[in-house]
Each structure stands twice: as structure tokens, then as C-alpha cells.
């Protein structure tokens, strides 16, 4: 019970901090809008080939949800460094709740924020007139959650090894962009793409997330890389692995 209340209180903190940060919520509309509006339109008129009868916007839309989840998750995870620099981390680590609970509390909190961002993108898609059914959201939500848990855990794990926020650029270059480009978010990873790229992307957990999102959002217009259940299984396995690694990383005592 004590552990659950500890997890709850850490979750609540992250969500409160997020909801009080107006600037971040407003800016969360802007990036997807740039991708869908400018990038999507530009590529379409420049003659890009997307599979089936899909418009470029429709094709990249699930990818942009994935990208938003990825970037937000990493950013939130990394924010642990902020807590370290500003001392708050000590208050958490000196408390009697277990490191597993500390990790879960932060992970759930950051994931909630990331999923809210993903939801905002979904609403944006509706507003932009993409062929979306509001009920689709119910299928999208669990996939978003599965993607996010693992990604936030990566961020938290990496952050637990880093001492200062200056290293944030490193995360951008070595985690965010590679995972993004190799996920099939903005171009289809299928026949016609070089084998090395296909192989590399098969090691990327986000590939399975984006594929699952496309499966539920695009329906028959999309021929999936893998069956939905397979994508979900891979993501579950990835989440469990990352949560385990993250907890171990949080349990180190200097």
C-alpha cells in the first residue's frame, strides 16, 4: 500500500508539472502541424510515392503520432537530470519507497504526459480533416501507451547515467533521430528499401509501434509489416525489458 501511494504521488507530481506548463502544451500543437501541413503537402506535390491510395498526410499521420511519443518520452525521461541538478531527486531517493516504485512512479507520470501529447496529435488529425474515426482513438490509445512505456524507460535509464543537461544534444543525435528515421514514420519500410535499412529498422521498437498504429488507423488501405498481435507482443517484451533495466539503473548507489 505504501509503495502504491508512493507511485501515485510521483505520478501526480509529473502530471501536475506538465499541466501547469502551458507553453509546452501549446507548442505540442506546432510540430505535428509543421510535419503534416508543410512536410506532408510538400512531399505529396513533389511526387513522393506512398503505398496504396493513401495521401501523404494520411500515411505519415500515424508516424507523426509515433514521433511525438518518441520525442516527448525522451524529453520527459531526460528531465530526471533536471531533478538531479535541482536536488529534488535526492528527496525521492532518500525516501523509504523501493527504487522499483520510484522508477514506476516516474515512468507512469512521464508516460501520461507523453500520451496526452499523442492524443493532442490525434485530435489535430481530426481537425485537419484526415479520414479518422473518433472511435479509432480507443484502439490507438493502448498502442500509444505500450510505445510510451518503453521509450520513457529508455530516457529515464539514460538520464540516470548522465549528470548534466548539456548531454541533451547527445540524446537527440544518438537516440531520437535514429529511432525516428528508422521507424518507418515518414517513409514506408517495405519492398524497395535497401536491406540494411530494413534490418536496422527491425531492431527499432518504434517500427512495431508505428506499424501497429497504421494498422488500426489506416485499416485496409495499409498492408502491415507484421500482424497486429506480433507488434503488440514485441512492444510488451520491450517494455518489460526496459523497465527492468531502468529499475536496475535507478538502484545503483554511488
Amino acid at each position: 500500500m505504501t509503495e502504491l501511494r508512493g507511485i501515485y504521488t510521483l505520478w501526480l507530481r509529473e502530471v501536475k508539472r506538465y499541466l501547469r506548463d502551458r507553453a509546452r502544451i501549446i507548442s505540442s500543437f506546432v510540430q505535428p502541424l509543421l510535419w503534416l501541413g508543410i512536410f506532408g503537402s510538400g512531399i505529396r506535390f513533389a511526387g513522393n510515392q506512398v503505398p496504396g491510395n493513401l495521401s501523404t498526410q494520411q500515411f505519415i499521420f500515424p508516424g507523426i503520432i509515433g514521433q511525438t511519443l518518441l520525442f516527448t518520452s525522451m524529453f520527459m525521461g531526460i528531465s530526471v537530470i533536471w531533478d538531479k541538478e535541482f536536488g529534488f531527486m535526492k528527496e525521492i531517493l532518500v525516501s523509504p519507497i523501493s527504487r522499483f516504485s520510484v522508477f514506476l512512479g516516474k515512468m507512469f507520470g512521464d508516460s501520461t504526459d507523453a500520451v496526452i501529447q499523442g492524443t493532442i496529435v490525434f485530435v489535430l488529425g481530426l481537425l485537419l480533416g484526415l479520414q479518422l474515426n473518433p472511435l479509432m482513438f480507443l484502439e490507438t490509445l493502448p498502442i500509444m501507451i505500450l510505445i510510451t512505456f518503453g521509450l520513457v524507460s529508455i530516457g529515464l535509464t539514460v538520464a540516470s547515467f548522465m549528470e548534466s543537461l548539456e548531454s541533451f544534444g547527445v540524446i537527440q543525435s544518438f537516440i531520437n533521430l535514429p529511432l525516428f528515421f528508422l521507424s518507418g514514420a515518414i517513409f514506408p519500410i517495405g519492398a524497395g528499401v535497401p536491406t540494411w535499412l530494413q534490418v536496422a529498422s527491425s531492431f527499432n521498437p518504434l517500427t512495431y509501434g508505428v506499424d501497429a498504429l497504421r494498422t488500426v488507423i489506416l485499416g485496409n488501405a495499409w498492408s502491415p509489416l507484421h500482424p497486429l498481435y506480433y507488434n503488440l507482443l514485441i512492444m510488451c517484451a520491450f517494455d518489460v525489458a526496459m523497465i527492468t533495466i531502468g529499475t536496475l539503473a535507478f538502484s545503483r548507489r554511488k
Partner: protein
């Protein structure tokens, strides 16, 4: 959680911590009695915070061992953490939350039963006089208010030992005075042991029942502030009188008087245990019909004690080492 009442609050045995070859804490063996305020006095970099970090189970000792409230810091870290409160040297509160939210979070992290949280939080807020500001976001608090909130937070879960790491660093004199009186009130109101680190002499002197002087990771002296000061030979009693020569010859040979010096309008006696000798001096003068205009006693202060044991003066406040963001932060909250 069972704690034997007679057991010391803290016992360390050759507690040692090295950082890449540098010995920060060197075979520290101390014991802190239940209910006392124990002051760890030393300059910056003496190893005080490292010691506290080990006792709070944030840092692992390189060698040696310690028990806090009877629990081993290496093997029973959760039990140790449950039984202590700590106010860190650097701020450790969430400034995007309100004061009350910070306290609720702490109560939940420390497993305070939900039914008791509100009353305990109201009580500590009252203790530090922050009731009226409790629902403001912390960003709007002054440095002193944040410090008070951190002290309040450290008390919510009824710790048996409270660690205060440089509780008044960087605060203005008025706020320091405020915090000192809280700490004094606290031990009257609660059954609590306080371990205080400081590099301020006046703070250690005023608050501590016992002081350990720490330098280069070692304890160089440990006793009550009064006894520490007594170890220095030389309280100075100054007697102002017109008959200095006569008084001086009467006092010659009195036990405890180490040196007599006739200077202008009176005499200066260097004595051991000035408080006990002062009345004897006045009595002797009265018995012999010598009119004494005034008497004064100057006892050595802790700075003299520190100088005596370490061979140098404690570094002044201005040389606080501040690094990176915490420096910015520190300046901001001033």
C-alpha cells in the same frame, strides 16, 4: 520498527569514504546519543556532507560501518531511511508545486497514513509559520521560506533522527536566527535527535549539546562546547581597580591563575576556568577592602578552539564553493 531506547542514535565504526583516491571521510568513529543535538563542525570540504550522505544511505561507505537508530546503513537501508529525516544542504523541493503539495508528496513517500496527513501537515506548517503561504507555488517563496518548508518537510514522518546539513547557509541573519529558534523549540517539543553540520561557529555553539570538529575527514576534537573551550588555557579576567598592585600580590598563588598582568587602570588575569575564579577574585578584593570598579570575563570562542586543534582559522563564508547550476540556484534563492 523497534528501537532499543538505550541504544545510541548513531554509531559509526571506522567509517571511510574515498573518491578516486581522495579520502573524504577517514576512519570516522563517532556516537551520537539519543535526544542530543550533535554538531559536526568543520570547513567546507572537511567531509561533513559525505558523512551525512553515508548515514542517510545515499552514498556507500568505502569501508567501515555505521548504525542509525540501530539499523545497519549498508544492509538495512530502507529501515534507516524510514527512521530519519534530512534537510539537505542544497534545495531539494519541487518549485513548480505549492508548499502543501510538496508536503503531501513527502507524506506519501514516507508512508504517513492518509488519515493523519492533513493534521500533521497543518502542524508542521504552523511550526514554521508558513500556513498563509502554503498554497502558493514555491517559486514565489524567498530562500528563507524554502528552507523553513524543507525543515517542516523533514518532520512530517516523525523521524527519530533529523539531519540538518548546513541549515542556514546563504541566509540572512534574521532568517538564521528564526531557524535557530525553530531548531531549539523542536527538541523541546519532540523526542528527536538532531545531527547538524555547519561551518558557522556561532551556529554550532548555540545549538549543539556536543560538537565534533572535523577536518580533512577526521574528527580532531569532540566534546560539549563549554568543555571544548575550557581545553584552551586562557579565559581572561580583566579587573579595573586603582589598587592593581595590591590585588595582584593578594591573588598571587591562587589556584587556576596562570598569568597576571598589570596594565594601566587594572589587572588582566589569564586563568583556567574563568567562571569559577571570577567570584573568588571579587571576594578577595572585598575582603581586603580593595574597591573594584568593574570586572569582565572573556572566554575563548569556538573559533579559538578550531584554530587550536587544526592550526588554522576556519575558512570564511565568502569562499563557499559553488558549482554549476546549483550555484545559480543558490544565488537565485538568496
Amino acid at each position: 520498527m523497534q528501537v532499543k531506547p538505550l541504544e545510541n542514535a548513531i554509531e559509526t565504526t571506522e567509517l571511510t569514504r574515498r573518491f578516486n583516491g581522495l579520502v573524504a571521510v577517514d576512519k570516522l568513529t563517532i556516537s551520537v546519543e539519543r535526544g542530543e543535538v550533535f554538531g559536526l563542525l568543520g570547513p567546507n570540504g572537511a567531509g561533513k556532507t559525505t558523512t551525512i550522505s553515508m548515514l542517510c544511505t545515499i552514498l556507500k561507505p568505502t569501508s567501515g560501518s555505521a548504525r542509525v537508530n540501530g539499523f545497519d546503513i549498508a544492509k538495512q537501508d530502507t529501515l534507516v531511511r524510514k527512521s530519519i529525516g534530512i534537510v539537505f544542504q542544497d534545495p531539494s523541493i519541487d518549485d513548480r508545486l505549492t508548499g502543501r503539495e510538496n508536503l503531501y508528496m513527502h507524506a506519501n513517500l514516507y508512508g504517513v497514513p492518509p488519515g493523519e496527513q492533513k493534521s500533521r501537515i497543518d502542524r508542521v506548517l504552523k511550526l514554521v509559520e508558513l500556513e498563509s503561504r502554503a498554497d502558493d507555488i514555491l517559486r514565489t517563496y524567498s530562500g528563507g521560506m524554502r528552507r523553513r518548508l524543507e525543515i517542516a518537510r523533514g518532520l512530517i514522518h516523525y523521524p527519530r533522527v533529523l539531519f540538518l546539513d548546513e541549515p542556514t547557509i546563504g541566509l540572512d541573519p534574521q532568517t538564521r536566527e528564526h531557524i535557530w529558534s525553530y531548531i531549539e523549540d523542536l527538541r523541546k517539543a519532540q523526542d528527536i535527535t538532531v545531527v547538524l553540520t555547519t561551518h558557522y561557529m556561532d551556529e554550532a555553539d548555540r545549538l549543539s549539546d556536543r560538537i565534533a570538529i572535523m577536518d580533512y575527514g577526521k574528527i580532531v576534537a569532540s566534546d560539549t562546547p563549554i568543555k571544548l573551550k575550557e581545553t584552551l588555557e586562557g579565559d581572561v579576567i580583566t579587573v579595573k581597580t586603582k589598587e592593581a598592585d595590591k590585588l595582584s600580590s593578594i591573588l598571587a598563588g591562587t589556584a587556576g591563575i596562570l598569568k597576571t598582568n598589570i596594565a594601566g587602570e587594572g589587572i588582566e588575569l589569564t586563568v583556567r576556568g574563568g567562571r569559577a575564579i571570577l567570584p573568588r577574585v571579587v571576594e578577595a578584593a572585598a575582603k581586603n577592602g580593595i574597591f573594584v570598579e568593574s570586572v569582565s570575563l572573556r572566554e575563548p570562542n569556538l573559533s579559538d578552539v578550531f584554530l587550536h586543534y587544526t592550526g588554522r582559522a576556519i575558512r570564511a563564508e565568502g569562499s563557499d564553493e559553488l558549482h554549476g547550476l546549483s550555484a545559480i540556484r543558490r544565488r537565485r534563492i538568496r
